[in-house]
């Protein structure tokens, strides 16, 4: 003990030096936005790599469960396409038109496959990291979906990784949705808690639907194409102001074991965003006059 005290007394200036340097370092990184952003990017790349290794190990154990789920979903969709094709052919007498329409629709979008390397579902502001970044064509505000449905929207992009705001983010996520086959739309909102349940708000009072109807993306936001599955209606409530419905939705995406996702790159997104901005500017100018 005495030796320790002697040691501390003799080299106390070293401890002060280290303390002051650490304090300066913290100040430098915390209160200088440039240094902070550089540090964040490089740290993010390193952290992303570690998470990538971790996710590979976990993915190995989840593979069979995921395959089973995707096979079921694939079977269901194939059946649905088959039924629709028959229905369309009966109505139009043209068996190839539907296929041509489908291919034309898909050619607007480029799908970038990615793996989730970090994910959380137990916070209010969950974020997700995927292993594709700017170098792979991922950009901010692109939609992310998986085989089972909608996942979220790209928020931050580095060269090889991207941070996604999933639908399970109570403060930042608002995805425009519609009731399949009925057209009424609203916004998907998650309040925390159960990661398999979210709510669609602002559905008009005159909307007609029934429990068990599917909710899908509306295609209005220019982030997701229309028709990406969101979930199934479980309950319907009146909104707090009584002017709209609030629908409890069982999400089709299982966020707790999400591995493979697709980033949806819409070639027309920039054009649509520019047009929308021009319209907003024009309205603003008219109001100011």
């Amino acid at each position: 003990m005495r030796n320790l005290l002697d040691f501390l007394a003799k080299y106390h200036h070293w401890f002060i030096f280290i303390l002051l340097e650490v304090a300066s370092g913290v100040l430098l990184l915390k209160y200088n936005s440039y240094q902070n952003s550089v540090w964040f990017s490089s740290a993010n790349a390193a952290v992303g790599k570690v998470y990538q290794w971790e996710s590979k190990v976990i993915a190995f154990f989840y593979q069979s469960h995921l395959n089973e789920e995707l096979t079921q979903r694939n079977f269901y969709l194939e059946r649905q396409v088959d039924q629709l094709r028959q229905l369309y052919a009966d109505l139009t007498k043209d068996t190839t038109q539907m296929e041509r329409n489908g291919l034309q629709f898909l050619s607007q979008y480029q799908l970038i496959p990615a793996k989730v390397v970090d994910n959380s579902v137990n916070k209010l502001e969950n974020l997700m990291t995927i292993d594709k970044g700017r170098a792979d064509g991922v950009e901010v505000d692109m939609g992310v979906a998986c085989g089972n449905g909608v996942v979220g929207i790209v928020y931050l992009v580095s060269d090889h990784y991207a941070v996604v705001i999933p639908a399970l983010n109570a403060t930042m996520s608002r995805i425009s949705c519609a009731i399949r086959g009925r057209g009424y739309f609203g916004y998907l909102h998650w309040y925390g808690g159960d990661p398999s349940v979210a709510y669609v708000e602002d559905v008009p009072r005159h909307a007609k639907f029934k429990l068990g109807d599917w909710i899908e993306t509306s295609g209005f936001s220019s982030i997701f194409p229309s028709g990406v599955l969101v979930g199934k209606i479980e309950q319907a409530y009146n909104s707090r102001d009584g002017l709209s419905y609030k629908l409890k939705v069982r999400l089709s995406t299982d966020f707790s074991c999400l591995r493979d996702v697709c980033v949806i790159s819409d070639k027309g997104i920039a054009e649509r965003a520019a047009l929308m901005q021009a319209a907003r500017d024009s309205i603003e100018m008219k109001i100011n006059r």
């Binding site: 106390h12 200036h13 002060i16 030096f17 002051l20 340097e21 304090a23 300066s24 370092g25 913290v26 100040l27 430098l28 990184l29 915390k30 209160y31 200088n32 440039y34 240094q35 550089v38 540090w39």
Partner: protein
């Protein structure tokens, strides 16, 4: 107490000269005189090391507050103050006075210039490395660091010479 008041006055003079005048000089868009580093040079032999560290940290911190770069000068100047105490010990003969001043008068021009050079050049290299926080523009960084170090050294030696007279 007198020593403290003298040092505080010196602290304030250097601080105001730096933030009011020198911070606005960017010679050829690269060289900025960082005269406040002179503050770390002037601690006499056997000055308590913890006091040197605290003085330097606060000098750096206040310069940072005026320059909106919290932590940048503070970290560099603390390191410089720390190095000064060891470097001065190496440069002076063992039998010299216990509280020998770190000045041209006490050390001679060459030794004082060497002390300043050995502290100011690494200071500027570190300062601009932390400011850029990337070695992507390495020539730009080297140019800024070396030209600023040269300008600072010239000013430092000039002030020290005037001070001696």
């Amino acid at each position: 107490m007198i020593e403290f008041s003298r040092r505080l006055t010196f602290f304030l003079i250097l601080l105001f000269v730096q933030v009011l005048i020198l911070n606005h000089i960017h010679l050829f868009d690269v060289a900025t005189p960082l005269l406040y580093v002179y503050f770390a040079m002037t601690f006499h032999r056997n000055y308590p090391k913890w006091q040197v560290l605290l003085w330097c940290f606060f000098m750096g911190m206040v310069v940072d507050i005026f320059s909106s770069t919290p932590g940048l000068a503070a970290s560099c100047l603390t390191l410089t103050g720390f190095a000064q105490t060891y470097l001065l010990e190496r440069l002076v003969p063992r039998d010299s006075a216990e509280n020998l001043d770190a000045s041209i008068a006490a050390l001679g021009f060459s030794k004082f210039a060497m002390l300043c050079g050995l502290l100011v050049v690494p200071y500027c290299l570190l300062f601009f490395a932390l400011e850029d926080f990337s070695f992507f523009y390495v020539i730009d960084w080297g140019l800024k660091a070396i030209s600023s170090a040269a300008l600072t050294l010239v000013m430092m030696l000039a002030v020290e010479s005037i001070h001696r007279k």
